[in-house]
């Protein structure tokens, strides 16, 4: 195919500064959301172009469109002067567009060399030339300056090393345009340096790089230009020398606070739960208190340790140190079962993987936590089961044809209402919401926030985890900022600026002003 031809005869080095890829009103709509509003942007050959933005700003949508993973709704992609359909990943790769994803998408059970040549194996008479491939792979890896063996199983390497291999793999395929999606999320500093070296070298060879990252210092270290996305809109593009991180942060979060944040203040009641120097896998030394009638927000980037903290509190993982005090008494929470018995409820982050039984009816999903209550000697009271389900559907305004419809047939927002709603009848004291509004539209968001108020008014406490700053900012009575497994700052209701909080969550070395420890 064309890709092979290009590899055999690599194109002459692209003249720098020429436009290689142009987006003309590129747009993506999903049912119910406008993920990417028409974007006009031109990438120059041989530039490193950073793209920053909050979660849900449209970065991943943009990548998916460029790599052919998803079709666009409208607009044009012009590659070297010619409009291209980019309908399949294969088509994108044939043009020379590749991506290195945050999560390594390679085969852990193949060797490093096997992965590097996956799909383009070197074979003779139908037999793999294993030794030749290992040798070739080793040459490439050495050439890139990575100190890694080509003959070992990929799964034996650290995630960071696998990431380097993924990057190396992308470079050997006639790549002209390479997208890095938060590549350093799992890398050590040393590995990141190796990666940066590789990126600069690719740039030297005329490859255009899109670099997506949450880490400002990386953007300033690497990029030539930076574009900011916010709520699916391209807010602006700056030359790196003509901007600073304060400006970028402002561009990222400066939005009108919509009227969706429904905040009622209740006088905090008795302490429901308190953690004392709680440590576990992915977080350490976290002390927080949740009282009746208040929302405690946990803000931080994905991987900052917030989810790990609450799942440990919920008994999913073992704590390694510290105490959990429940209504003033120390308790051991060894399983979700223990947590639920105490009166905790968790609406997990991923509703498809953790929150819902998709091929079961809505009613069954809603009643799952309360079957014990609505059954006598194991026998379920059919009328009570129906009544509970119908009440929930009405209270939560879940749009479903009937209580017997399968959960999979509902929209994302309505599914999320089930994930949250199933705990309402359970009568829990502490509600933990992990990213409760990811992928739901504004209207449903507002309904979910109103639900919070209902819970608080009944004397419950809420832990709200969000990567979406306005959400925790506008709702949390106490806001804790997490970074790399540690609680780094605590604020009251709207007592700090967005910029300070974002700075605290992002900053790698220097503390930004404004946050008390």
């Amino acid at each position: 195919m064309t890709s092979t031809a290009q590899e055999l005869h690599p194109p002459p080095m692209l003249e720098p500064g020429r436009t290689i890829l142009e987006l003309n009103g590129l747009e993506k709509r999903y049912p119910g959301t406008h993920a990417l509003k028409p974007v006009n942007l031109a990438f120059k050959a041989g530039e490193i172009h950073a793209i920053v933005g909050e979660n849900g700003a449209g970065k991943s949508t943009l990548i998916k469109l460029l790599t052919g993973v998803m079709p666009r709704t409208s607009g044009e992609v012009i590659w070297e002067g010619k409009p291209e359909a980019l309908a399949t990943p294969h088509e994108a790769m044939a043009l020379g567009i590749n991506a290195v994803h945050q999560e390594v998408v390679l085969c852990r059970h193949l060797t490093v060399a096997g992965n590097m040549f996956l799909g383009e194996e070197n074979s003779r008479f139908g037999l793999l030339q294993q030794r030749a491939m290992v040798k070739e792979a080793q040459k490439i890896i050495d050439g890139l300056g990575f100190d890694l063996p080509a003959h070992v199983m990929l799964g034996d390497l650290t995630i960071g090393q696998q990431q380097l291999i993924a990057a190396a793999r992308a470079t050997v395929r006639g790549t002209k345009f390479l997208i890095f999606d938060e590549p350093t999320a799992y890398l050590t500093r040393k590995e990141a340096d190796q990666l940066f070296k590789l990126i600069r070298r690719l740039k030297g060879e005329g490859v255009t790089i899109i670099y997506i990252s949450h880490r400002m210092e990386e953007v300033f270290e690497l990029a030539d230009r930076v574009s900011v996305l916010r709520d699916g809109t391209l807010v602006g593009t700056r030359n790196i020398g003509e901007t600073n991180d304060a400006e970028l942060v402002k561009m990222m979060i400066n939005r009108s606070i919509e009227q969706i944040y429904h905040k009622e203040h209740f006088t905090p009641g008795a302490t429901i739960v308190e953690t004392r120097s709680l440590s576990g896998k992915g977080f350490e030394n976290v002390s927080i208190t949740v009282r009746a009638g208040e929302i405690v927000g946990l803000y931080g980037l994905i991987g900052a340790g917030r989810s790990e903290f609450v799942t440990t509190l919920y008994g999913r993982h073992r704590k390694s140190a510290g105490q959990i005090m429940w209504q003033g008494k120390e308790v051991q929470v060894n399983s979700e079962h223990d947590a639920i018995r105490l009166g905790m409820a968790l609406a997990p982050e991923s509703r498809r993987d953790q929150g819902l039984c998709l091929n079961l009816p809505v009613a069954m999903n809603l009643n799952l936590p309360i079957y014990k209550r609505i059954s006598k000697n194991l026998l379920i009271s059919g009328s009570q089961e129906k009544a509970e389900a119908d009440r929930q559907i009405a209270d939560l305004r879940i749009k479903t044809p009937t209580r017997g419809a399968l959960a999979s047939s509902l929209s994302g927002g309505n599914q999320q209402k089930i994930v949250i709603g199933k705990w309402l009848a359970h009568g829990a004291k502490l509600f933990i919401f992990d990213e409760p509004t990811v992928g739901v539209d504004v209207g449903t968001k507002a309904e979910i926030y109103r639900l919070f108020s209902t819970l608080l008014s009944k004397g419950a406490g809420i832990i709200l985890i969000s990567s979406y700053l306005p959400e925790v900012y506008e709702l949390a009575d106490t806001l804790h900022v997490f970074r790399r497994g540690k609680l780094v700052a605590t604020h009251g209701f709207r007592t700090a600026s967005h910029e300070d909080i974002l700075g605290q969550a992002l900053a790698e070395k220097q503390e930004k002003s404004g946050g008390q420890k």
Partner: protein, 321 residues
């Protein structure tokens, strides 16, 4: 098929009823055709015989369905049947009262189910593997215990049971009803039944909702083991011997019955009445083929083809709705 107790949306409910009826219709159609085509089908002797044949697989299929609903599989049930015939034969011949011998045999089935639960929950083995291991080991243990010989059971009363009739219907078929009614209530009207479905649908979501997932898995395999041991007792009564090689391929017939009856091998979809009908469809195929003098080798081929056809059409129907 999964949600009898919660009335589904109307079209789905109608569909479920229709599907149940269609399977039942298929079964009745086969009977009518056979009754017309062969003089010997519609005889009391043959019908009671058919009911006896089908009963054993029917009971196994119910236990198998519990396991499949959780997203698992139990390959050991055929081996448990053979092993149970040996246990019950040895105990009866050792002079134990029949009811004690039967009870102990059932407990052996429970113990095997417990072992499966342990392997899956505690050792993290895939259900396919742990039950495959039991399948071969149990046959081996049975052969060691009997030295490869059959044990004749010296209790006429025990053997008479399988020949007995109540209201003209064989005891063995009454046993199906004895199992099916509680099984139906259990699966569709108790919270543990709901938990089986929830674990099969999304174990993580079930766990986060407070469902004791390990206990639910244990329960499914214990029930399957128990019912298999029960079938072993019934089989021993029917053939009058204990022999560890009995019940060969029963596990496959039980799985096939379950799947024909609308159970999804991916879990979370299944019923009690579906597998029952499925097992009698299979038995009727065999019975009819015998009466029509179809070469027994061909019977196997036909059974295989029919499984493909029935499950394929079931899949079409599901997708079509």
């Amino acid at each position: 098929m999964s949600t009898e107790a919660i009335p589904a949306e109307k079209s789905k409910r109608n569909f479920n009823a229709l599907f149940g009826l269609t399977l039942l219709g298929l079964l009745l159609l086969m009977w009518v055709v056979l009754a017309v085509a062969t003089p010997s089908f519609a005889t009391t002797l043959n019908i009671t015989n058919l009911l006896r044949q089908g009963s054993l697989i029917a009971i196994l299929a119910v236990g198998q369905t519990f396991v499949i609903i959780t997203g698992g599989i139990d390959l050991s049930v055929g081996a448990i049947v053979g092993f149970a015939t040996v246990i019950v034969a040895l105990l009866i011949n050792a002079g134990w009262p029949v009811w004690v011998a039967v009870l102990v045999t059932l407990l052996v089935g429970v113990a095997i189910g417990l072992f499966h639960g342990f392997g899956i929950v505690k050792m993290g083995l895939p259900p396919f593997i742990i039950t495959l291991a039991t399948m071969t080991s149990l046959r081996g243990i049975g052969l060691l215990m009997t030295n490869g010989n059959s044990i004749s059971i010296n209790s006429d009363a025990f053997q008479a049971f399988s020949r007995g009739l109540l209201l003209g219907i064989p005891y063995l078929f009454w046993m199906v009803i004895l199992v099916a009614v509680p099984a139906y209530v259990f699966l569709h009207h108790t919270r543990w039944g709901r938990y089986l479905f929830s674990v099969g649908s999304n174990a993580e979501a079930a766990r986060l909702s407070g469902v004791n997932v390990p206990r639910t898995i244990f329960m499914a395999y214990i029930l399957s083991g128990l019912l298999a041991a029960f079938v072993g007792v019934l089989l021993a009564s029917r053939i009058g011997i204990g022999n560890p090689t009995q019940g060969d391929t029963y596990e496959l017939q039980a799985i096939a019955s379950s799947v024909i009856g609308g159970t999804s091998l991916f879990g979370a979809i299944g019923s009690v009445h579906g597998p029952l009908i499925g097992s009698f469809i299979l038995s009727t195929i065999n019975n009819g083929a015998n009466l029509l003098n179809v070469n027994t080798f061909w019977q196997r081929v036909i059974t295989g083809l029919l499984i493909i056809v029935i499950v394929y059409f079931d899949g079409l129907r599901r997708r079509g709705k």
